[in-house]
């Protein structure tokens, strides 16, 4: 490289301005330390194997091969997938219904209702699960009292058959209000002119809901669904709390997150747990992405 060419080119090339980096640095630092580094560390850890006898050794991708065929992991993934396809539509459907009813302005005590439905979201999920655990009790709980008072023989919600729907009920109770609020906020953002135009065209409330509100709600519905998909795969608190009341119905691998917890804290397998966590993260991303593609395709039609 000649000295002449550098001096000649220097003024012409737009000097790279590094000042911006100084402003971004705090974010990059926190992002790097708080998000990238732990993820990389988890991924790195998942390449090792811990043994009570033998200690830690490098095993490459063996843990991932094991995860792919691990019946306990697959059992948990299958269960949350089932939970996802049943519970999420019910919850979003309910939230949508309530948001539309509130938005129609035809109910009394709107503010009270809105707050009332949102309230369960403010209850910590551990407390919610405990509370429902008491309600589900078939001796002294509400279920037991209904049975005693009516002579019915309702099955225990915490039996092996009913425990998944019972957890679905708790989660729905907790999150309907939250989703309702997302949808309700989106409804309030629809410009008044659209309604006016619809009214001039002779549309009633139901027609307005179907032809004006629902299309405008698509992005909000998508956000609510995405959160719910992620929430389903991360299901942990509710079954983990109810497990003390129903240890025979909720196994240590009931959900993939519970399995990861069990592996890390009770089974001395932090490294395998890291592999489970990485795979679960990937599955969540794939499912969320697939759901997005589906809605995107519908929109372009």
């Amino acid at each position: 490289m000649g000295a002449v060419s550098t001096t000649a080119a220097a003024p012409r090339r737009p000097a790279r301005n590094w000042t911006g980096l100084v402003f971004v640095a705090p974010f990059l630092l926190v992002f790097g330390c708080g998000v990238v580094a732990p993820l990389a560390y988890a991924a790195g850890l998942s390449l090792y194997r811990d043994q009570l006898i033998g200690g830690r050794s490098f095993v490459g991708l063996e843990n991932y091969a094991d995860v792919a065929t691990d019946p306990q992991f697959l059992d948990g993934v299958g269960r949350v997938a089932l939970f996802l396809v049943v519970q999420v539509p019910i919850m979003i459907g309910l939230a949508l219904l309530v948001a539309l009813v509130l938005d129609s302005g035809r109910v009394r005590g709107m503010r009270f209702m809105r707050l009332g439905i949102f309230m369960p979201y403010a209850v910590p999920s551990v407390v919610a699960a405990l509370m429902w655990g008491f309600i589900y009790g078939d001796r002294f709980g509400l279920v037991g009292q209904i049975n005693a008072a009516t002579g019915l023989a309702l099955p225990s919600p915490l039996s092996q058959t009913w425990v998944l729907p019972a957890i679905g009920n708790v989660v729905t109770w907790e999150f309907v209000g939250y989703n309702m609020l997302i949808l309700y906020a989106a409804l309030r953002a629809i410009p008044e002119e659209l309604y006016e135009a619809a009214a001039i065209d002779g549309a009633g409330e139901i027609r307005k809901a179907l032809s004006v509100k629902l299309p405008a709600l698509r992005p909000a519905l998508w956000v609510a669904t995405l959160f719910s998909i992620i929430g389903s795969f991360q299901l942990f608190n509710e079954p983990n709390v109810l497990k003390t009341l129903a240890p025979g119905s909720i196994s240590t691998h009931f959900t993939p997150n519970m399995y990861a917890y069990q592996l890390a804290f009770n089974a001395n397998q932090v490294t395998y747990s890291a592999a489970v966590a990485v795979v679960l993260g990937l599955i969540t991303i794939v499912v969320a992405y697939a759901a997005q593609r589906m809605t995107a395709r519908q929109e372009s039609r």
């Binding site: 009570l52 009790g137 991360q234 003390t244 240890p247 890390a264 001395n268």
Partner: protein, 448 residues
Amino acid sequence: MRLSRTLLLSAAPGICLALLATGCGSGGTDGGAGSAADRSAEIEAALDEGGELTVWTWSTKFEGAVAAFEKAHPAVDVEIVNAGQSADQYTALQNAISSGENIPDVAMVEYFALPQLALSEQLVSVEEWGLGGLEDRFTRSSWRQMTYGGTTYGLPNNTGPLIMIYNRDVFERAGIEEPPATWEEYAQAAEKIREELPDSRIASIDPGDAGGLDSLIWQGGGRPFQHEGESVTVDFTGEDTAKVNDYWSDLLARDLVAAEPGWTDEWWRSLGDGSLATWTTGAWALGNISSTLTDNAGDFRVAPAPVWDAGDPQNAENGGSGFSVIEGSDDTALAMGFLKWFSLNEASVQEQLDAGSFPAQSAPLEDPEWLSKEFDYFGGQQANKVLAEASGQVARGWQYLPYQVYANSVFADSVGARISEGGSIQAGAEEWGEQLRSYGEEQGFDVG
């Protein structure tokens, strides 16, 4: 994802520290196991010099004893920390040791967890510090349970020989005059209770409590877990093991016992209102029931646990724990000094007895005053006599796995699921055994 991320975040700096710690901590103690070196002078000096000690226990029965220790050793400041119950504490302990931070000096360790903690080098041998000679001050069974691979890792503190707490009123209403002495009589009593009081059952069996079933198998003569060095045997197919499992499957199938997790609000209320007539458990439970079901004073009595052969009564232990000095303690000599005084000094032991602990020390078990103590809660019964007799009948030869903490954590997956749905406990136990064998292999044990 979130879970493991926080976990790893907290572990990462710890690993660096752990490396540092092992680097500088490898000098010093090289008196291996078995060397009965007399280091009492060193311990005494540490006690005189004083310092701070952290003791981990989730039990509330030791505050008095610790206060007594501090009174006798003004230079030493002891802090009791509740780091979680049982498995939670062992996880916290493992995390503390691998991070090298907040390591307690002394911790309560249940007998079932001792092999696992000893194997992973979390505990300091008491023989190394000349406390091995204290063996005959404790019950034989409890000392053996503090020993792993020929080395003793701490001093026993409390034990749980099986006893049966029963509701006298329920027995009377069902026409049962004497508490059942054998399991055969127990099954007959269970039939009577169900017949006379359709809403009551003789007991509930806990689908989540591995220790409960373990102790019943131990009492019945089964020995499903054995270990020696790095080799481990898990076998639930033994005749005596199957006998116990099938007995309880049968009671469940005939709806003579309930399947309900213990220690929940519902369970305590069932015990309090007579829906459950008995609780077969460790001797430590007397303190728990009298402090929880305070309205039931006078309702309950204590009897020996039913046995399989009235002519040759065999007992077992349910729970029980000792205290161990933790590897990485800042002041091991001081910790050993505390351990010895706390475990054997008369004032300390008396405080523990007053708090309702059932001793592993031999002295109180032979003390006439302790034996003849009348319990108001149990209608003035001299309950300690029943407990002491049970303690003397504990059968030999029981071992826990060097990964019993894990084993207990997955008990409900196989056995608990059968208990809940009234299936075959034996089938569940064999599945449990299968899982424990493959886990043992994965963990590098030689599984037979």
